[in-house]
Symmetry: C2
């Protein structure tokens, strides 16, 4: 099956580029309200499922035992820019866990933004694991395994008790079969299991509603979701779609990006889960689709819709600021959303 | 028509992302040797056609009158990183034309690389037009119009004599009808006309052979092509595919990238022209396709093929350097290239 075009990039009178992909919207009862493309084909969710990967941190009691703040819980679910707030926060989680950044197994990464890179370059300091966009999640992992009494070393490996536990959580919440044929290694060294887009959306309906799982798990998901929505800067950072959306809509829309064109969302008011995968991995595509979805599902005012047009109808500008084109949702997508 | 997948991005046992597109390879006699996808659909070539846009600089006599060096001719055909060599070179062209960077109408742009950005940030200097990746081309434009006696102001506009001349050159060389229905504005403010991929490839066969155009134009194209191949750093810069390929293969392969997933090449030994457009605009896709093409058309040794594998079979690594997947040419593409 060839996935439909979900996003068009125009220049003057023509479409210059196209992003194909699949999208599903599922309600808390597990009913699929919208499906475009091969929503039954497994896709790697990458960082979009960090909220599920952080469940052991809450459910084991590690977060409370270490006295993690709500902002630190948000950081444990983040894909961040490596700004000072993120680096300092990851170090704080590690300190509360009685560990240091030497325990992190995510590998080094340059901060996303130029000024943060400058600080390192100016002092001749190489980036390290704490700057990795996943360092908050990994600090949460270290906190979890230290509390549970597992070895910290090797916590990223597929057969480590923490990753086995996360595998079992993802299997339960997504309802997908997560075996070796869908297992890859993520950029931060932990396993990532490919999940059909429709199952991912169903999992995020559980994040939205807190239902469809045990009462304890529902409470943990709700706690993590509310932490992220209350601390959007911790979840991503400056000039990031996740942060900007949650800063505006607060707990009305939990959104989380994943590498290679994945975006997921949970809409508490309607109990809906959303999952998007852009075939080519392009983030501009997944952001445009998610913005169009939020216009349909969350926006209440023209101001809300205008805010989301920054991504749903993003201008393509020349270096002098002339609007040469637009990144916009395709007719297939807008028609499907209008029919909701 | 849905274009075929030309590039696959794998992770573990699965294809994670896919790049669809169109590619044509045409010989100096105008025969199409390879065509995948909708090669008759117009695509914006963007910066891939800078060698044609630089023809008036040579053909008018402006380059020789100003005493431009071969390296400066290469810079006039470049999409550069805004490194010192590029910024200084653009200023030198302008000085030889009796102009300053105030004449540039391309708009400001940050340099591509962190250290060059740092230098501006550290001194609180905003980037300006001379840092724009097109500043070499625009300096060449200023040099051309000053020599030809046209007004410098407004040289980017569609109805300026220079842009009319470039339009007519592109029409002749591509054989395509370039009217308002295919006209957009490029990021540097000049018009860009969409051209079918097959016509683009035919145009680059003329660059490869110097034939199919007047003797004078063929000589000018050959002069510009040789200038680029002899000065690959001027054409792009540090860690850039265009530069690395021409630095290795010299005049055996002239290659030029364009924004939104375009790549073109001229292979002088065989008189072949190549044009690629990735549907989604992804540069990693167009580079992987071009690297596979060069393995088929230009590489002579295992060392050559291994060098090109940096892009034709590019490793997807974790932050700790583990190879988690590969960016590789699809079977459709490798089969088509093997049949050449």
């Amino acid at each position: 099956m060839t996935n439909p075009v979900l996003v068009e990039v125009t220049r003057g009178p023509r479409v210059e580029s196209r992003h194909r992909g699949a999208i599903a919207i599922v309600d808390a009862g597990g009913r699929t309200l919208l499906a475009l493309g091969a929503v039954d084909a497994p896709v790697f969710p990458r960082s979009a499922v960090k909220i599920f990967q952080a469940l052991p941190l809450v459910e084991s009691g590690a977060a409370d035992a270490a006295g993690l703040t709500e902002a630190e819980l948000a950081l444990a679910c983040s894909s961040h820019n490596g700004e000072a707030v993120h680096v300092d926060g990851a170090r704080a989680i590690l300190a509360k866990a009685g560990a240091t950044e030497a325990a992190l197994e995510c590998g080094p990464q340059w901060p996303a933004l130029g000024p943060d890179q400058d600080i390192l370059r100016r002092t001749g300091t190489p980036p390290c694991a704490v700057h990795n966009n996943c360092s908050g999640k990994h600090a949460g992992f270290v906190c979890t395994v230290a509390h549970m009494g597992h070895s910290v070393e090797g916590y990223v490996k597929e057969d480590h008790p923490l990753q086995v536990l996360i595998h079992d959580i993802l299997t339960e919440i997504t309802g997908a079969s997560l075996e070796a044929d869908v297992c890859g290694i993520d950029g931060c060294s932990i396993p990532t299991w490919a999940v059909p887009v429709e199952n991912l959306a169903a999992a995020f309906a559980k994040v939205a509603s807190g239902s469809g799982v045990s009462q304890e798990r529902g409470a943990a998901l709700t706690r993590l979701r509310k932490a992220c929505c209350a601390h959007p800067v911790e979840v991503a950072g400056t000039d990031r779609f996740c942060t900007d959306v949650m800063a505006r809509f607060s707990d009305a829309a939990y959104v989380k990006t994943g590498a290679e064109g994945v975006y997921c969302a949970a809409i508490p008011a309607s109990g809906l889960g959303v999952a998007i995968k852009i075939d080519d991995g392009g983030t501009r595509g997944s952001e445009a689709v998610m913005a169009a979805v939020l216009q349909a599902l969350v926006a209440r005012t023209d101001d809300d819709r205008g805010f989301l047009d920054r991504w749903a109808n993003q201008s393509v500008e020349t270096r002098r600021g002339y609007v040469a084109g637009t990144i916009r949702a395709s007719k297939d997508l807008t028609d499907a959303l209008a029919a909701l």
